[in-house]
Amino acid sequence: MNHAIEFEALAKRYGTLAALDGVSACVPRGQVIGLLGHNGAGKSTLIKLILGLIAPSSGRLDVLGQSPWRAHALRRRIGYLPESATFYASLSGRELLDYLARLKQAPRGQAQALLERVGLAHAADRRIGTYSKGMRQRLGLAQALLGSPELVLLDEPTTGLDPQATRELYRIVGELRADGRCVLISSHLLAELEPHIDGALILRQGRLLAAGSLNALGEQAALPARLLLRPHQHAVDGLLIRLDARGLPAQLRPDGRLELQVPRAGKLPMLRELLADPAVVDLDVREPTLAQLYDWLGAGQRPAAAEACA
């Protein structure tokens, strides 16, 4: 059992509305996976299905080796941070964690350790009602880690966090990965998420647009890389003509640099050639970003769902 989550032809319908429409994918253990998609793409539905809070209309879903629907004991091995988490405002942070720790049968004393880990030890005895948004989010992360769960679901964990707190959050996510736990992060903030995830599930309107490692997705999409060249001032025209002859029309940017798109397959030969070209003073390679990949997938005429468990 090397997959934390496995689903096949999974569907959830509310009346005639299909919140999830036959999606299939696997999420391996020990990885950080991004769950991406617009509002209404089915992210929340998928998370509720994984938590066993709603029953699938059809299809198969395995979480940590068993079906999650009404499997209460299974939820002891899952941590969940709800979107824009709110908690009982009249409790203190410590009281909340103690209560939740007892519900989850987590070791006593873990609450204190987690409060320190997320940097809330100084505010542990204040009422949650007085916490800032960022503090509530960190408290939410702390409760998601109660009982050392094997699978952690974070729903929009960084909304409202300042950059420092965001870095702290991803540091903890990194520690979880190093610990061999699986982390599923749903987010809109693609650029922020990209350096921290190993793979992605991309949903749109209840269908899975793509699933897999970022590397594989990049290959599959075969998006061109962008090159930025700084030419010698007197050699601009010659370089432009030579590039044009290679079928690579370059554009002159206001800052004097040339921008061109290089297909993935021809990137390395092209780079070698340009490095050897005396007209090129400096060179900058921009790999396609997650956001570009996302746009490319979203712009396509609803491509078929990615192969399951490739």
């Binding site: 209460h72 002891r76 519900l103």
Partner: protein, 277 residues
């Protein structure tokens, strides 16, 4: 079971924290003492009259107040968490939905019972202290029965509140439904029974059925439990007069009361299990 107790303990402490329990204790004590000393002011007397008369008045008042409190204390049990966004968090923990409802039910019932015991117990202790003639075992039995049945009556309406809370989509609707529930069970039900009595003119069928109709409302069962035990002459002639030909066995009344406490709560548990979140 352990999980239920963890939730119940949290709710019980919450009721203390937001002053529900203390406020109710004071309210109950003041009501009891006020009735004991000023209850017979209409008859031209001020001062302690008799313990039984006090209890009879308390029963009438309790039948109005306790259902309202039971509904108020618990109407937002589930729907409040839904509004605050904590319901999803709670359900992501390893507890069954029924356990969440059961814990909340038990916690609020416990808080209400504690306030009933503390408030009325305190009042009775003061009465006994100041009126030595009332220091009888009989009096303690009656007040014990009163406190127990008042707690059970509270539980009936906490259960009803849980049911409302599970079935509604927001807090304001739940509050409205709770008030309607109170109006129907405390006021309209008895009015309807009276109307029935007047219209039918007391034909034999109605005479046979009527006493059982009273069992359909926990508020009336609560009155029966306390007033039939007090007997005649304690200012409760109207009710005993209506039902004198039919003695309700105390055991039956207890069972009916228990059933009324369990039924709405059990319905709430089942309904919540089937709810989409």
């Amino acid at each position: 079971m352990n999980t239920i107790l963890i939730v119940a303990g949290k709710e019980f402490r919450d009721d203390f924290r937001n002053r529900w329990t203390v406020a109710l204790t004071i309210l109950f004590a003041l009501l009891a003492l006020g009735i004991a000393w000023f209850g017979s002011a209409a008859a031209g007397q001020v001062g302690f009259t008799s313990f039984d008369a006090t209890l009879a008045s308390l029963t009438t008042l309790g039948a109005f107040v306790i259902p309202l409190i039971g509904l108020l204390i618990a109407y937002d049990a589930i729907v409040g968490e839904r509004d605050d966004g904590t319901l999803l968090l709670m359900l992501s923990y390893p507890l069954a939905r029924g356990q969440l409802v059961a814990g909340k039910f038990l916690g609020h019932c416990g808080a209400l019972a504690a306030a009933t015991l503390a408030g009325f117990g305190l009042a009775v202790a003061i009465m006994q202290l100041m009126q030595p003639p009332a220091q009888t075992l009989q009096a303690w039995l009656h007040i014990g029965r009163f406190i127990l049945s008042a707690s059970l009556l509270g539980a009936c309406f906490v259960g009803l509140a849980c049911l409302i809370s599970v079935q509604t989509v927001d807090k304001s609707r739940a509050a409205g439904l709770a008030l309607i529930g109170w109006l129907v069970s405390v006021v309209l039900f008895d009015l309807a029974l009276l109307a029935l009595l007047v219209v039918s003119g007391g034909n034999p069928v109605e005479r046979a059925v009527y006493p059982y109709l009273l069992l359909l409302n926990p508020v009336d069962v609560f009155r029966l439990v306390n007033l039939t035990a007090l007997g005649d002459g304690a200012g409760n002639d109207l009710l005993t007069g209506m039902t004198a030909h039919h003695a309700y066995p105390p055991l039956l009344l207890c069972l009916v009361m228990l059933a009324w406490a369990v039924a709405p709560f059990a319905w709430a548990m089942l309904a919540f299990r089937r709810k989409e979140v």
